[in-house]
C-alpha cells in the first residue's frame, strides 16, 4: 500500500487477451470485479462468459510483491435467449458481476445479463474417488468373473479442477434491462435495478422478489428519466442509492416504507447556467455510482466528470474532477457517433484516497483526493522494460502540440475504457480495454 503519502507510480504487470485486428464482439469485456479479498478477479464479456483470475501465489509472496493473476476458471454464464412473448432477443452480455463475501471454501458470485441474474458457486476439487468395485478406471463395467474381492473407493489426489455451477437463477422479474446488481452488507439479500424499477431479492428465494422502487409513470409519455445505477451502502443494510439519467442521486432507507419511491435524500447539483447547451442533460446522466469503502462518501460518474459526494450534504458534491474536459467542445460529433452515451464506471482505491475512471484512446484517469493531483495513463501493449513506471499522457486542445502530447482529434474513440476495478486492499488495478484486460500495480 502506498502509505508514503506520495503519488502512486503504476507499472505494467500483465495483459490478458490476444491482439487482433478485428475483435470478435463476444470477446469484448463488459464488466470487471475484484472479490472482497482481491484474491479473485472476475470478468464478464459480451458472449456471456465469465472468466475468473486468481492471484498468483508466487508473485504475491515475492518481494516486491507483484500483481499477477492467472486464469482460475471459465464458464458460460448466460446464453442468448429469445422472448417469444415480446418477439425480442435477449442478449447474453454480462452486465454486472458482484461477489459475495467468502464464508467457506467456495466462492459465490452473482452475474446478470439484461433479464436474468444467476448465482454461481465456484468450487475447487482436487480429489477424486478411485477404485470402484464394479467399474474399472475407464468407467467400463468390470467383468463379474474378475471381481473376487471387495474394493472400496478411496479419494486420491487429482489435478486441481475448478467447478462452476449455477445455484440460483433469478429470472422474470424485470421488464426492462437490468443495469445494476448490488449485494447487501447482510449478505442475504441483494438488489437488482433496471431502467424503471428496483427489486430486492433474497439469495435463497428465486421465485419472488420485492419491488422497492418504481419510477414508471402511469402515462409513459410523462417519462423523463430512467434509473442508471444502484448500490447498497457498504455497512448499513437498509440504505441504498440509485442514480438517474438526469444527474440526480436518491438515497433511500428501506425501514421507512415498503415501497421506497419517496427518497430519504436527493443529491443534485444545481446546473451551471454558463455551461448549458443542448447536450447538458445527456452529459449529466450518471453512468455509475459507487460508495466509498468507509461508507461516508459516494462517487458518481457522468460523461465529463467524476463527483464525490458527502452523504451528509445533498446540495452539491464535495469534490469534482474533470475527466476529459477537452471533449466539451466536441459534444456534437460525440452525439453523432453515439459516444456521448458511453457508460463509464469509476473505482475507489482501498483506502478511499484515490479514484480512477476510464476515458477514450485507452486512457484512464487517476485522481488523488488528498493532493488533488491527477494523471492520465494509457493501457497499451508497448511495454519496453518491465517495472517501468507508466508515463503520464497529456491531451492538448489548442494549436501548439508539444512533443509527447496527443491532439484531441487524434483520439481513438473506439478504444474506450469503460470498466475498471481496484483491488480492495492493495494498489493493483484491472483495466478492461475492449477485449484485453490490463493489470497494473504500484511500483512499491
Amino acid at each position: 500500500m502506498a502509505g508514503n503519502g506520495g503519488e502512486i507510480q503504476w507499472c505494467f504487470s500483465q495483459v490478458k487477451g490476444s491482439v487482433e485486428e478485428e475483435v470478435a464482439d463476444a470477446d469484448i469485456i463488459s464488466c470487471v470485479e475484484f472479490n472482497s479479498t482481491g484474491e479473485l478477479l472476475a470478468t464478464g464479456d459480451k458472449g456471456g462468459r465469465v472468466v475468473i483470475f486468481q492471484r498468483d501465489r508466487a508473485s504475491k509472496n515475492a518481494v516486491p510483491s507483484r500483481g499477477e493473476y492467472n486464469v482460475y476458471s471459465t464458464f458460460q454464464s448466460h446464453e442468448p435467449e429469445f422472448d417469444y412473448l415480446k418477439s425480442l432477443e435477449i442478449e447474453e452480455k454480462i452486465n454486472k458481476i458482484r461477489w459475495l463475501r467468502q464464508t467457506n471454501r467456495n466462492h459465490f458470485l452473482l452475474s446478470t445479463n439484461d433479464k436474468t441474474i444467476k448465482l454461481w458457486k465456484v468450487a475447487e476439487r482436487d480429489k477424486r474417488p478411485e477404485g470402484y468395485n464394479l467399474k474399472d478406471e475407464a468407467g467400463m463395467v468390470r467383468d463379474s468373473a474378475n471381481i473376487t474381492a471387495l474394493r472400496v473407493p478411496i479419494f486420491q489426489p487429482m489435478e486441481l479442477m475448478v467447478e462452476a455451477s449455477p445455484k440460483r437463477v433469478f429470472a422474470n422479474a424485470h421488464t426492462y434491462h437490468i443495469n445494476s446488481i448490488s449485494v447487501n452488507s447482510d449478505q442475504e439479500t441483494y438488489l437488482s435495478a433496471d431502467d424503471l424499477r428496483i427489486n430486492l431479492w433474497n439469495l435463497e428465494i428465486t421465485d419472488q422478489s420485492f419491488n422497492i422502487v418504481d419510477i414508471k409513470p402511469a402515462n409513459m409519455e410523462e417519462l423523463t428519466e430512467v434509473i442508471t445505477a444502484a448500490e447498497f451502502h457498504p455497512q448499513q443494510c437498509s440504505t441504498f442509492v440509485y442514480s438517474s439519467s438526469k444527474g440526480t442521486i436518491r438515497l433511500c432507507d428501506m425501514r421507512d416504507q415498503a415501497l421506497c419511491d419517496k427518497h430519504a435524500k436527493m443529491f443534485e447539483e444545481p446546473e451551471d447556467p454558463t455551461n448549458r447547451s443542448f447536450f447538458s442533460e445527456i452529459i449529466s446522466s450518471i453512468s455509475d455510482v459507487k460508495f466509498s469503502h468507509n461508507g461516508r462518501y459516494m462517487m458518481t460518474r457522468d460523461y465529463l466528470s467524476v463527483k464525490v459526494w458527502d452523504l451528509a450534504m445533498e446540495s452539491r458534491p464535495v469534490e469534482t474532477y474533470q475527466v476529459h474536459e477537452y471533449l466539451r467542445s466536441k459534444l456534437c460529433s460525440l452525439y453523432e457517433n453515439d459516444c456521448i452515451f458511453d457508460k463509464f464506471e469509476c473505482s475507489w482505491s482501498g483506502d478511499d484516497r484515490h479514484i480512477m475512471t476510464g476515458s477514450y484512446n485507452n486512457f484512464f484517469r487517476m485522481f488523488d483526493r488528498d493532493s488533488k493531483r491527477d494523471s492520465t495513463l494509457e493501457a497499451c501493449r508497448d511495454i519496453t522494460k518491465p517495472r517501468t513506471v507508466l508515463k503520464p499522457r497529456k491531451v492538448c486542445v489548442g494549436g501548439k502540440r508539444k512533443k509527447d502530447e496527443i491532439s484531441v482529434d487524434c483520439l481513438d474513440f473506439n478504444k474506450k475504457i469503460l470498466h475498471t476495478g481496484w483491488h480492495p486492499l492493495e494498489n493493483i488495478i484491472a483495466i478492461a480495454a475492449t477485449n484485453n484486460l490490463y493489470i497494473f500495480c504500484s511500483k512499491d
Binding site: S13, K16, G17, D25, A26, D45, G47, G48, R49, V51, F53, S59, R66, N70, V71, T74, F75, Q76, E79, P80, E81, F82, K86, L88, E89, E92, R128, E137, A138, M140, M158, E159, M161, V162, E163, P166, V169, A171, N172, A173, H174, T175, Y176, H177, D195, Q208, F210, N211, M220, E221, T224, S245, A258, L259, D338, F341, I383, P386, N435, L437
Partner: protein, 356 residues
C-alpha cells in the same frame, strides 16, 4: 410488499433489444429483413409461393419497404430516436409495440414463404464437396427450416438441470467433469431427444440459414453429445477463452517466450469477419511450456468434435461458408450469440441467398 412484477409483464410494454444501445443489434435486424423481403419480392414475380394470404397489396408495400432503410423502426412513422438515449427509446418502444409485432409477424411469415419456395428450386452443387463430406442426408432443394439453438427453445436453462462447468487452471482449458462419473458413455437415464421445431415459432433474425426440422436428419452431422445438454455451456466447448492468453511483466523480465495458449480456432459467425480463408481451422499451438497441455488440448478437441476435425479442411476451400450460420454445439466458447455459429458441423455447402 408487492409480488414480483412479473404479472405486469404482459401489460407493460417491454424494452426492445431490437432498437438497442449497441448499433450492432439494430444492424442485425435490419440486415436480415431486407434480404427476406427482397427475396420474396423477387419470388413474387416467379410466382412460386403458394397463395394463401400473400396479396398483391402486400407485395407492393413490400417492395416499397425493401427499398428503404430497413429496420424495426421503418415500419413506424416516427423517426427512429437516437438508439442509446434510454428514455426516448423506451417511449418509442411503448408507442410502437403493435408495429414491432406486426413487423415480426411479417418477417416470420415471409421466412415461411421463402422456406416453401425452395421446393421449386434446384441447385447445381459442387460434386467434390458433396462426395467428400459426411453423409449428407438431404440435398439443397429440400425444404429448409429456421433453426435455433436448443437453449433458445427452452428459454432460460432450467436450474434443476445443473450442469457443472469444470475448468482446469493448469491446463487452462475447460474439462469434462469426470470426478464422479468415469463413464465414457452418457448416463443411461439420460435420454437423447430430438426437439421438433415449429418453423413459424422460432426466428432469430440474424440467422440466415434454415435447417430441416422434421426427423432426425439435421442432427446427423452434429456431434452426438450435444443432444443431452440443453443447459449452459457443455464440456464440448473446451477451447480456451481468449483471456487465457497472457503476457506478464515477469515473463518479460526473464525473457521467456510469450505464453500463448491455443487461440480459439473456430472462425466466428457472419458479419465482420472475413471468410474462413483467413483463419486457420485448428488452433496454432505455440509449443513450449504449454506444449503438453496444448497437445492434450488438441486431443480433447478431436475427442469431442470428431465431425468437425474432418470437415474443417473442406471448409477451408469454400470461402462462402462463413456467410452462413448454423447452430452447432461445436462452436467455441464465444460464439453463442444468435447468428454467430460456424458452419463447421455441416457437410454441405450452404446456399447464399444472393445467389438464388
Amino acid at each position: 410488499m408487492s409480488q414480483a412484477s412479473a404479472s405486469n409483464m404482459e401489460v407493460d410494454p417491454p424494452s426492445s433489444s431490437g432498437v438497442q444501445p449497441s448499433s450492432g443489434g439494430t444492424l442485425k435486424r435490419s440486415n436480415s429483413a431486407p434480404m427476406i423481403n427482397m427475396l420474396v419480392a423477387t419470388s413474387q414475380s416467379v410466382e412460386v409461393s403458394p397463395s394463401s394470404s400473400f396479396k398483391p397489396a402486400d407485395a407492393s408495400r413490400l417492395r416499397r419497404l425493401s427499398s428503404s432503410n430497413m429496420g424495426v423502426n421503418a415500419a413506424s412513422n416516427l423517426p427512429a430516436p437516437k438508439s442509446t438515449d434510454r428514455v426516448n427509446q423506451i417511449k418509442h418502444e411503448e408507442n410502437n409495440i403493435t408495429d414491432r409485432e406486426t413487423q415480426h409477424e411479417k418477417e416470420v411469415h415471409y421466412s415461411w414463404q421463402v422456406t416453401n419456395s425452395w421446393d421449386g428450386l434446384s441447385l447445381a452443387t459442387p460434386d467434390s464437396v458433396m462426395s467428400e463430406s459426411h453423409r449428407r442426408p438431404r440435398s439443397f432443394s429440400e425444404s429448409l427450416h429456421i433453426m435455433t439453438s436448443p437453449s433458445l427453445l427452452c428459454g432460460s436453462p432450467s436450474p434443476t438441470r445443473i450442469i457443472k462447468q469444470c475448468f482446469s487452471p493448469s491446463m487452462r482449458a475447460p474439462v469434462k467433469n469426470t470426478t464422479f462419473t468415469p463413464s465414457p458413455s452418457p448416463s443411461p437415464t439420460r435420454k437423447s431427444f430430438i426437439r421438433s421445431l415449429s418453423p413459424i415459432a422460432t426466428q432469430a433474425p440474424p440467422l440466415k440459414r434454415k435447417l430441416e426440422s422434421d426427423g432426425g436428419d439435421r442432427f446427423d452431422y452434429l456431434s452426438p453429445p450435444k443432444k443431452f445438454h440443453t443447459g449452459p455451456s457443455t464440456p464440448d466447448r473446451n477451447l480456451p477463452h481468449p483471456l487465457a492468453h497472457s503476457i506478464s511483466s515477469s515473463s518479460l523480465e526473464e525473457s521467456s517466450p510469450e505464453q500463448t495458449v491455443p487461440r480459439s480456432c473456430l472462425p466466428p459467425g457472419p458479419h465482420p469477419r472475413p471468410p474462413l480463408a483467413s483463419h486457420p481451422p485448428h488452433p496454432h499451438h505455440h509449443h513450449h511450456a504449454q506444449s503438453h497441455s496444448s497437445t492434450m488440448h488438441h486431443q480433447h478437441h478431436k475427442a469431442f468434435m470428431p465431425v468437425a476435425a474432418d470437415l474443417t479442411d473442406i471448409h477451408m476451400a469454400d470461402s462462402e461458408t462463413s456467410e452462413f450460420v448454423e447452430h452447432t454445439e461445436m462452436s467455441d466458447l464465444g460464439k453463442h450469440a444468435i447468428g454467430e455459429h460456424t458452419s463447421q458441423g455441416g457437410g454441405f455447402t450452404p446456399i447464399h441467398p444472393d445467389r438464388v
